[in-house]
């Protein structure tokens, strides 16, 4: 924020100088005093005088006034015309949009300076003509920006909702479309200030802008040019003024447009995961453990996942269940370095016998895609819309080191597509992601994940965006892969009912911690933690009489793992006692099964 103000400072000085020129200027900028010509800077004339003895400081200040006036006028005209035209085009769509867009395209492609020269050539120099000439090419980008913004909003449901509420088109445009369209235009305008000031100076420099005797920066430059060697104070001050304004305007525009989301190079340079020595010695008892995660914590830098431990055995499916924001996705992606670079992960994760935490990018590539495959929720976002399905899978096959010549790679690709149950792989490989249904795209993602013949498949909400029938088929596919390839899987979901079709064991997460884990059937039939019980109550029952209310948990989902010193679920818990808010419960083994653990101080009462 302070830096934005700092960047804008020259612009503020420019605006004040322009507005208050008559007050600030020591003398009349047009007062000629030939006896005092070409005086160097002194107490009387802080910036000296020119060849006609006029005070340079006053001329600079009045120059700012003219630049400011022209800039304000041009911006007002082009913003108004541009935003209104663009908004109308975006709102109407169809034919009107096409016609207006073509006109805007033409206006944008015209070279601005040439248009200005032509207009002034025909109409002669002068302030009004200058404004007309510059507005003629300055409006088009605003129209384009506004149109894009409005067209993007046009199909959005909130306009449908407004229409249903009976809002008139005037209200929809005026109250709901113009303001969002105006915002990016204002950001652009802050950059435009610079180019308009520069344009005015350039035209005046060429003798086509503001005619003498009015003071104008560009004109001062041309007048000072012959004296560059003998009287430097003539050309330098206006030159510096123009540079400062243009520079500040560009920087400000960049800052406003970038906001805080600008990716910083520093983030990529700074090491994120602290390296931890592999102190994990595999023992005979856990011979079939494929992935073992111990005491994993992830922070940004405030912790979102705290001391999470879980393990996946060969040929078994572990489901991680929790509400959005409970840290379930973070805990499964962290071991594979798939989080935002700013995340700090600590703890240990061993795949087979190798430590995963703190691997270099090169070492990661030998694990990800080869020993571990990942499937994400949004298949449309994962697949590149411009590449065919075949190209995607081919690439995965080559990355996994199973590729060969083109035809050989494609054969592996087709084999993979057949494996995930897609019909006619050869034809499908030539199609693009948008031509496939959501369920088919998700199968393609699985095929890509399987390219390296991984030991472990990580699926983050793989079926949440799909219809129930498609979801059921996909879950069956995952179950088949587990059985036929004896593959291990981690499936992340917010829906216990969905994963219960597939999972062997389940870990329930709440506010960044695992609150219960164990074999699926035990957890479902004999939940140890009140939160798990609450989740089970929220699932619709097949035999319920229509209109039956769900038993719900009061309150809002928990926030971070470190927000309370006690149990994060205590404020919503039906069986909480005072002790629960003070002492944090740890995972304890329950009597029902050796691997069934629950973190409840009330001992699963």
């Amino acid at each position: 924020m302070t830096r934005t103000v700092l960047v804008a400072l020259p612009l503020v000085v420019f605006a004040i100088a322009g507005l208050l020129a008559p007050v600030l200027a020591p003398v009349d900028p047009t007062a000629v005093d030939l006896a005092a010509s070409l005086l160097p800077p002194s107490a009387d004339h802080p910036l000296g005088t020119d060849q006609l003895g006029r005070d340079q400081l006053s001329r600079i200040l009045y120059g700012a006034q003219i630049s400011l006036a022209v800039t304000a006028a041009v911006l007002t005209i082009s913003l108004t015309v541009g935003v209104i035209t663009g908004t109308i085009a975006g709102y109407l769509g169809g034919r009107a949009d096409r016609v207006i867009s073509r006109v805007v395209d033409m206006a944008v492609s015209l070279p601005g300076m040439l248009v200005a020269l032509a207009v002034i050539g025909v109409r002669g120099p002068g302030v009004v003509n200058l404004i007309i000439a510059m507005s003629l090419w300055a409006w088009a980008p605003y129209a384009r920006i506004a149109r894009a913004r409005v067209a993007g909003l046009r199909g959005s449901p909130h306009l449908d909702a407004l229409r249903l509420l009976g809002a008139s088109p005037a209200r929809v445009i005026g109250r709901h479309l113009l303001p969002p369209a105006l915002a990016p235009c204002l950001v652009y305008a802050s950059t435009d200030v610079g180019s308009i000031v520069l344009g005015v100076a350039t035209l005046s420099f060429l003798g086509l802008g503001i005619p003498p005797p009015y003071a104008e920066w560009g004109q001062m430059l041309i007048e000072g040019r012959p004296y560059l060697a003998s009287a430097w104070w003539l050309a330098y001050p206006p030159g510096i003024a123009i540079t400062a304004v243009v520079f500040a305007s560009n920087l400000l525009g960049e800052r406003l447009a970038g906001d805080d989301e600008r990716p910083s190079i520093l983030r990529w340079v700074r090491p994120t995961a602290r390296r931890r020595l592999a102190d994990h010695v595999p023992t005979a008892a856990e011979g079939d453990v494929v992935l073992s995660v111990q005491d994993l914590s992830v922070g940004y830098p405030q912790r979102v996942v705290a001391e999470v431990s879980y393990e996946v055995r060969r040929g078994q499916v572990l489901a991680i269940v929790g509400e959005s924001g409970s840290g379930k996705t973070t805990s499964v992606l962290a071991p594979f370095g798939l989080l935002d670079p700013s995340a700090v992960a600590t703890g240990s994760a061993t795949l087979g016998s190798g430590e995963l935490m703190g691997l270099t990018p090169h070492e990661r590539r030998l694990v990800n895609g080869r020993r571990v495959g990942v499937v994400f929720q949004d298949s449309l976002a994962v697949l590149n819309p411009l590449r065919t399905i075949g190209a995607h899978v081919d690439e995965a096959v080559r990355n996994a080191g199973r590729g060969g010549r083109r035809a050989a790679t494609r054969r592996v690709t087709e084999e993979l597509l057949r494996l995930v149950g897609l019909p006619d792989p050869a034809a499908l490989a030539r199609q693009f992601p948008h031509q496939l249904s959501g369920g088919m795209r998700q199968r393609v993602q699985i095929a890509i994940a399987l390219a390296g013949e991984p030991e472990l498949l990580v699926a983050d909400e793989p079926t949440s965006a799909l219809d129930v029938t498609v979801q059921a088929q996909l879950l069956d596919l995952l179950g088949r892969l587990r059985d036929e390839l004896s593959m291990s899987m981690i499936v992340v979901s917010h829906d216990l009912a969905v994963v219960s079709r597939l999972a062997d064991s389940v870990a329930v997460m709440y506010a960044g911690r695992i609150v219960e884990s164990g074999p699926l059937t035990t957890v479902i039939n004999d939940p140890g933690h009140p939160y798990t019980r609450g989740l089970l109550d929220a699932v619709p029952l097949p035999g319920a009489v229509p209109g039956t209310r769900f038993r719900t948990m009061p309150g809002r989902p928990g926030a971070g793992p470190d927000d309370s010193s006690g149990c994060a679920f205590a404020p919503r818990c039906p069986i909480a006692v005072t002790a629960c808010t003070n002492d944090r419960p740890v995972l304890k083994v329950l009597t029902s099964a050796a691997t069934h653990r629950s973190a409840c101080s009330r001992g699963g009462a």
Binding site: P157, D160, L164, V539, L541
Partner: protein
Amino acid sequence: MLEVERLSAGYRNRVDVVKDVTIRVDAGEIVGVVGESGCGKTTLARVITGLSRPRAGVVRFEGVDVHALRGQALRAHRRHIQMVFQDPYLTLSPRQTVRQALTEPLLIHRIGDARSRSARVDELLDLVGLDPEVGERRPRQLSGGQQQRVAIARALALEPRLLVCDEPVTALDVSVQAKVLNLLCDLRDRLGLACLFIAHDLAVVRQLADRIAVMHDGRIVEQGPTLEVTTDPRHPYTRALIAATPTIPFGR
């Protein structure tokens, strides 16, 4: 109250996505429409609310053809049927506070003065179980469940008789979904609100709806009282849908 008769509709000149649909909703009744994405559920909802026009057939509300209304009569009719959309975040303007969003429909229809509007907003927040302080927040500061409550509150601002809900809980967590569904049941009991509840998830619909219509490929393939449809499905598609619906295998 709502009668949809032999309705067909589609996009512009393309093929119909809703084919020959007949369905009715009585006062105070919740009717569920189940089907997978692309089966025409959303188009049906848009035609019923008047956002889209049908190619054939009529939508009658209290005996009046909805699509024949124009001007003032249409504006007056709008108050009776409101809609709740799938993604509450997209249906709320990110620039408005909750209070502004809830006042908007009252302003559009020039209902009351500033004070009575403010009182009505408090009433609406209370009706959907939100704290008054939530009124000062903007949509992105709310959880998904709260956003959907706000969207429901806004739909209720004009005291509609029928609420068309298009996948209102699909974007929500299971535990939050349960609360929103309870809210809809409560509203029906307290306000006598009728509801056309559209969803792809049969598990949700069968716990909520009095009657169910199963939609497949633009047509309604089976329709009847909920328990009848779910326990004794006639159409093969209904059977497939029931088999695919995830349930928790208690006592396995």
